[in-house]
């Protein structure tokens, strides 16, 4: 008789479990709100700690190369000529083909001039465009030129960042820089 009972119980079990499962799916169909985000038009909030593309505060950078040393994949290339404390910039690029967004380039910086933004849209039309130029100017700025020619002692930066950086101050600064860079790119 065991097999007969098994036969009938399997029918009941099969139909019952299927009906229960259908109940779950029907409840989702009728009452649960959708959770997908229509991406390009809507975006989810990104926490400020997010490890996205980098941004460089070039006027602070002293070309020490510690970020390039810390990088596990060697995606940062820095080149600048030192005229005393004035820098003649030729290159500061990050190769996003290689970058693994590990954030190891941020903590070694002695002047706290490189940050990670919440920018995550990396797609480009050609692999060559993935090498991002971080510089806002190359060579010498007029004020640098003036400094060099006058051989005046360059002034210390007006406002030194608080030790350890961090805080909302840094975040708002990064956000402003991001917005600026985006606007420049669109032009």
């Amino acid at each position: 008789m065991g097999s007969v009972r098994e036969y009938f119980s399997s029918i009941a079990n099969g139909l019952g479990s299927a009906a229960k499962g259908m109940g779950v799916t029907l409840r989702h169909f009728t009452s649960e709100p959708h959770i997908t985000v229509q991406y390009p038009r809507e975006t989810k909030p990104i926490p400020p700690t997010y490890r996205g593309m980098h941004i460089l505060e070039q006027d602070k950078c002293i070309d020490c190369g510690l970020c390039a040393k810390a990088c596990p994949v060697d995606c940062i290339e820095i080149e600048a000529e030192h005229h005393g404390r004035v820098l003649e910039w030729t290159k500061f690029s990050i190769d996003y083909k290689k970058c693994i967004f590990c954030e190891f380039c941020i903590p070694p910086c002695p002047v706290d001039c490189i940050h990670m933004t919440t920018e995550f849209e990396l797609a480009t039309e050609s692999p060559d465009d993935m090498v991002e130029d971080m510089l806002t100017w190359t060579g010498l700025r007029p004020q640098d030129q003036a400094k060099l020619e006058g051989k005046t002692k360059p002034k210390a930066p007006a406002a030194k960042p608080a030790a350890g950086g961090g805080g909302d101050d840094l975040r708002s600064r990064v956000a402003a820089m991001m917005a600026k860079k985006k606007a420049e790119k669109e032009d």
């Binding site: 299927a18 649960e32 959770i35 229509q38």
Partner: protein, 353 residues
């Protein structure tokens, strides 16, 4: 049909075989148009049902309102895609298989009574005609699977053959029960009976078993989950149409949705009152000519209700294994179908005699 023949013969003054030919051509042309539009809608509906069950939104972009134009856009894309025939494929069979598959299912439309008079041919053995002609599809599937020169395709085709042939039996058996109640194989008789006596489903308790058996068997017949073994995505990549691309591929998709429509039409006509309204609120069968379309609307609503259940099941249940499909067919559906037939027969005799 008769109206069309009369129209061509008398209004346009044709003679000989022409009125009949033109009438058929009109029917087939309009049916093809209907099928295309229906399939596009059904695919869109499937995606929406799946999406909402899974808390997604589904297609939202093409065409504006809830991505209604997604399916036409996909069809257009498939039309322009390269038609790839794999190396080592049997070109002739590979080429003709989608057509065979589609023809088999499409022929089933001939006998469906959409409304009183809106039926191409009212065949005497209408029920079995549809069941039989829909099985021609298997031939096409085997052609496709064998001609593709791919082992996955072959596996899919063999599974399909075994499954469809096995499930002919329980589905035909289950259909015997309503046939016993109505006493006819003619599909129009079912509508007439149900207009008079109410839905066959409520004729006796065994009808519920018959409906369940037929519904499950018909799922297997259209290769819908949990019986989608022939195209089991996680096992056979895509089954018998792995190697197809472009328009030929879309024919297989079309075939699936069309066969869903046909079996749902049978379910609706045989069990759920056909084109008649519940409690025969309005005698749809005897309305004058343009109001026949009310019957069409009623039937289509019922058909889509059944199709929705099919979709709902697909997005709920896991897939069965080959041997389990066979044992379900032969050990469960067939005996219960026979039980329903015997019960109905006894019920009929006992109640009436």
């Amino acid at each position: 049909m008769d109206i069309l023949i009369t129209f061509f013969a008398e209004t346009l003054g044709m003679s000989g075989v022409w009125p009949l030919s033109f009438a058929y051509a009109t029917c087939i042309g309009s049916l093809l148009g209907f099928v295309t539009v229906y399939a596009m809608f059904a695919i869109w509906m499937e995606r929406k049902v799946a999406a909402h069950i899974q808390q997604r939104l589904g297609p939202m972009e093409v065409g504006g309102w809830h991505g209604w134009a997604q399916s036409p856009a996909d069809a257009l894309k498939l039309l322009f895609k390269e038609d790839i025939i794999p190396d080592g494929a049997n070109k002739w069979l590979f080429w003709i298989a989608p057509a065979v598959v589609f023809c088999g299912v499409f022929a089933g439309f001939i006998a469906i009574p959409f409304a009183a008079g809106v039926q191409i041919v009212d065949i005497n053995l209408g029920v079995f005609f549809i069941i039989a002609i829909a099985s021609i599809e298997v031939v096409g599937v085997i052609m496709a699977g064998w001609a593709s020169n791919s082992k996955y395709s072959l596996f899919g085709a063999v599974r399909e053959a075994a499954q469809v042939v096995s499930y002919e039996l329980p589905s035909a058996t289950a259909l015997l029960a309503p046939i016993l109640v109505v006493g006819s194989f003619k599909l129009s008789d079912f509508n007439a009976y149900q207009a008079e006596h109410g839905w066959v489903l409520f004729a006796n308790p065994f009808m519920w078993i018959a409906l369940l058996c037929f519904f499950i068997a018909s799922l297997a017949g259209c290769k819908r989950a949990p019986f989608d073994l022939p195209e089991a995505e996680s096992e056979l990549v895509s089954g018998f149409h792995t190697e197809y691309s472009g328009m030929r591929f879309s024919f297989f998709g079309l075939e699936e949705y069309v066969s869903m429509f046909v079996v749902s039409a049978i379910t609706a006509t045989l069990f759920l009152g056909g084109y008649t309204l519940p409690f025969n609120l309005l005698d749809v069968g005897n309305l004058p000519a343009p109001f026949h379309l009310i019957g069409v609307a009623v039937l289509v609503v019922k058909i889509f209700a059944v199709i929705f259940v099919q979709m709902w099941l697909r997005w709920t249940l896991p897939r069965m294994r080959v041997d389990q499909v066979m044992s379900l067919g032969y050990k469960y559906l067939l005996p219960w179908g026979l039980f329903a037939v015997a019960g109905t027969a006894i019920w009929q005799v006992w109640m009436e005699g």
